[in-house]
Amino acid sequence: MVTELNIKEVPQKQLGINPKKFILWLFMVSIVMVFAALTSGFIVRQAEGNWLIYELPSQLWVSTVILLISSLTAHWALKAAQNNNSLQTKLGLWVTLGLGLVFLSTQFWVWEILVQHNVYLVGNPGGSFLYVLMGVHGFHLISGLIYIIIMLAKSYRANKVSDIQFQLSLSTTYWHFLDGLWIYLYVFLIIYH
């Protein structure tokens, strides 16, 4: 049977953003929940009293600024890739990688300073929480560094860097996220330590 149909009834295309990008966002949501749990645990535990009070090492400023700059360089690399500037892309990635490593060493340095001030991982949870927050963030930052290394490798293999700009936009988003996460933790620590 053949019927005349009206074209009016066309099923709508369903909106959707790129699934890979979406997956990255969901992944970041799960990381946010990890830290939401740790920081709210921090608050709940602190409210019970018997809490070690100490100065936050001022060196944390240094690491924070370093990480902020690395976000800028990551952004620069992405912009360069969009303009198909291979040299700047690679340079931007190398600098970001370097700053990331400097950030991690600064964090480690802060741990040494904490130890000098008798704040240990083992002991009053007031101190332990600081190590855990910094440590778990550092762990995720390492994953971000690995991601950048992968992108570096890709940038050397690609014929045109503009070919990898989508993947680069994902890794950059993740890097900005790790940066923002640290800012959150730092502000949190300033307020609640």
């Binding site: 699934p19 997956i23 332990s128 990898i164």
Partner: protein
């Protein structure tokens, strides 16, 4: 890059002259990235775990029902866990191993069977098929999800074979018991393995869940708007969101526990004496763990239940030959449940010494969650009401779910009262409550789903008669097991006790306990009917037709045994919601989602007639047969 890949894939599928390259056995059945194969892997792993978990419960029920029994005959299986009493020569279950049995039973059933086995199977299988997608957003992540689950399973299973035994601090692993290896033998290596296995499990759940969400949001076929999604998909969607928000919290809780166990921190430990000696740990709070655990733990019970509720919505509507009653109300109540499930966790902690004011807030919130739950129950009943009911085994199990959901939900309202809970907490009343509302209901939903979608999974039908026998034995058996537990609980029997014979007050319940144990063993044996039916039908079942239940959703438009990519031709487009059953005026008692309104002028409602454009005139007419 990835989009390009997906698009190529779609294009390739749409020119169906393109032949698919042969896949090797390994990439087809083992490290497969096809959502249907991964679903079957989850299902079969889930069934194996369910048998193991069930066997564990049989062993501890023997102990509870027949405390004087000689268990020496279990030695070949349990070895050193059966102690031979020197005086009497009787074999006795090791007391600490009893706790390990209870712990592993809970862990296996809640996480491995009713989370991975249930969501893993049906989300994977149905999401692409019902929304009209070729596969999941990321087949690779999906495969990883299964193999993380597999690794987790292996580690959990291995913990049965170590000399100190598996974890024994119950499925909620409260510290200090779980934090101090010296507290009991199961708190040693067994607990470590438990934590490692659960960490892998959480990774698996997150990989899976992220994929489900991304797929549902991004890969729906043309016309499949959110208000045309089958309720199954809505349920899987919300389940995945709950999991995404709550499992990372368990990961954090576990991380702190690992630090306490292995690195000497004191997050959960304070002022503890063991054998008269003080431990160095100071300043920790075991209550903190309870908060973190139950922030996952309560949402987890809905992670277990919601997929089953979705599955049943679909089955009940199909087999009542009626649209689901209150489609939007169903979605609304699932959303309400999802949101509320994050704000009621402390009802598990009423007696932990929390602030009574906080207790009353949580009591209020807990009682509110009964409202959307009740709406769902009413909607099931009203869908059934005056329906043209076809009692397939799947339908029987779905109705069974509704029954358990109601009878278990009612006791939830008792427990939600902070004052009543002082008496009822940690008694068999709680055991009865959650075994009905969560254990049995979710289990019935899963079984119903297997009976219903078996033809789509394996191209064959399961045996009906065996299905009915399985249903009646399970349904009656479950009530015989759990109904009496309410009385035992009200009388004050605590959960997780090895033996009650030392307390005179409880001796009146000896017979009842024996009765429960007999019922439990019989019900367990009845499950073997299902296992037989399942494996037998995979190979020898009657061949299925394309749409055996006259259902409306997209999966029934695929070939009987859908290949890689699901539809050989283009993906069908969707024109209507999934519940057009017994529409007045329609030729048949169901209209598939793929049928445009223009083809059904006889049954269209006025606004649908307008949608179809059958009123106006237009030059751009196209031809369709």
């Amino acid at each position: 890059m990835s989009t390009a890949h997906l698009d190529n894939f779609t294009d390739e599928m749409e020119h169906d002259d393109h032949d698919h390259h042969e896949q090797s056995f390994i990439s087809k059945y083992i490290f497969s990235q096809d959502h249907k194969v991964i679903a079957k892997q989850f299902l079969i792993s889930g069934i194996i775990w369910a048998i193991i978990g069930g066997l564990l419960s049989v062993i501890f029920r023997l102990q509870l029902g027949f405390p004087d029994m000689d268990m020496a005959w279990l030695r070949p299986l349990l070895g050193q866990w059966i102690n031979i009493d020197a005086a009497t020569g009787l074999g006795k279950l090791d007391t600490e191993f009893y706790l390990a049995l209870v712990t592993m039973h809970g862990t296996i059933m809640v996480f491995f069977v009713l989370t991975a086995g249930l969501s893993g199977t049906f989300s994977n299988f149905l999401i692409p098929l019902q929304i009209g997608a070729r596969d999941m957003a990321s087949g690779f992540m999906n495969m990883l999800s299964y193999w993380f689950f597999f690794a987790s399973s292996m580690i959990m299973f291995a913990s049965f074979f170590i000399s100190t035994g598996p974890a024994s601090g119950s499925w909620v692993i409260y510290p200090p018991l779980s934090a101090l290896p010296q507290s009991m033998s199961g708190a040693g290596l067994g607990m470590t393995l438990w934590l490692v296995a659960m960490a892998l499990f959480i990774v698996s759940t997150l990989l899976g869940g992220i994929n489900y969400i991304a797929t549902i949001i991004n890969l729906r076929t043309d016309g499949m708007s959110f208000t045309k999604l089958p309720l199954t998909i809505w349920a899987f969607f919300l389940t995945a969101i709950i999991g995404l928000l709550s499992f990372p919290v368990l990961l954090s809780a576990a991380l702190l526990l690992i630090l306490d166990r292995s690195f000497g921190t004191s997050f959960y430990l304070s002022e503890i004496y063991i054998g008269g000696e003080a431990l160095p740990n100071m300043g920790g709070s075991p209550i903190l763990f309870q908060h973190l655990f139950w922030f996952l733990g309560h949402p987890e019970v809905y992670i277990v239940l919601l997929p089953s509720l979705g599955i049943t919505s679909e089955i009940i509507s199909t087999n009542s030959r009626k649209p689901i009653f209150g489609y939007k109300a169903m979605i609304g109540s699932m959303m309400a449940i999802a949101i509320l499930s994050f704000v009621v966790w402390a009802h598990h902690m009423f007696v932990s010494g929390m602030n009574p004011f906080a207790g009353s807030i949580f009591m209020l919130l807990t009682l509110i969650i009964a409202v959307p739950s009740a709406i769902k129950a009413f909607n099931y009943i009203t869908t059934l009401w005056k329906g043209n009911i076809i009692f397939t085994p799947a339908m029987m199990f779905s109705i069974g779910l509704v029954s358990f959901f109601i009878s278990g939900g009612v006791t939830g309202i008792f427990l939600g009262n902070a004052a009543l809970d002082i008496q009822l907490h940690d008694t068999y009343f709680v055991t009865a409550h959650f075994h009905l509302v969560m254990g049995s209901a979710a289990f019935f939903g899963m079984i119903a789903g297997v009976y219903h979608w078996f033809p789509k999974m394996f191209g064959r039908m399961m045996d009906r008669k065996l299905g009915y026998i399985h249903f009646w034995t399970s349904f009656i058996g479950i009530y015989l097991i759990f109904f009496p537990m309410h009385y035992i609980g009200i009388a004050g029997f605590p959960r997780r006790y090895y033996s009650f014979t030392n307390f005179d007050a409880f001796s009146t319940f000896t017979d009842l306990n024996a009765f429960i144990s007999v019922a439990a063993i019989a019900t367990f044996v009845a499950q073997l009917i299902f296992v037989f039916n399942f494996f037998y039908s995979i190979f020898k079942g009657k061949r299925a037709t394309q749409n055996p239940w006259d259902s409306t959703t997209l999966e029934w438009t695929t070939p009987i045994e859908p290949g890689h990519g699901n539809w050989p031709g283009p993906i069908p487009k969707v024109y209507r919601w999934p519940y057009d059953y017994s529409k007045p005026g329609a030729k048949e008692d169901f209209i598939m989602q793929t049928v445009p309104y223009a083809q059904t002028p006889e049954s269209n409602l006025p606004h649908e007639q307008e949608l179809a454009g059958l009123e106006g005139k237009d030059d751009n007419a196209i031809k369709v047969d």
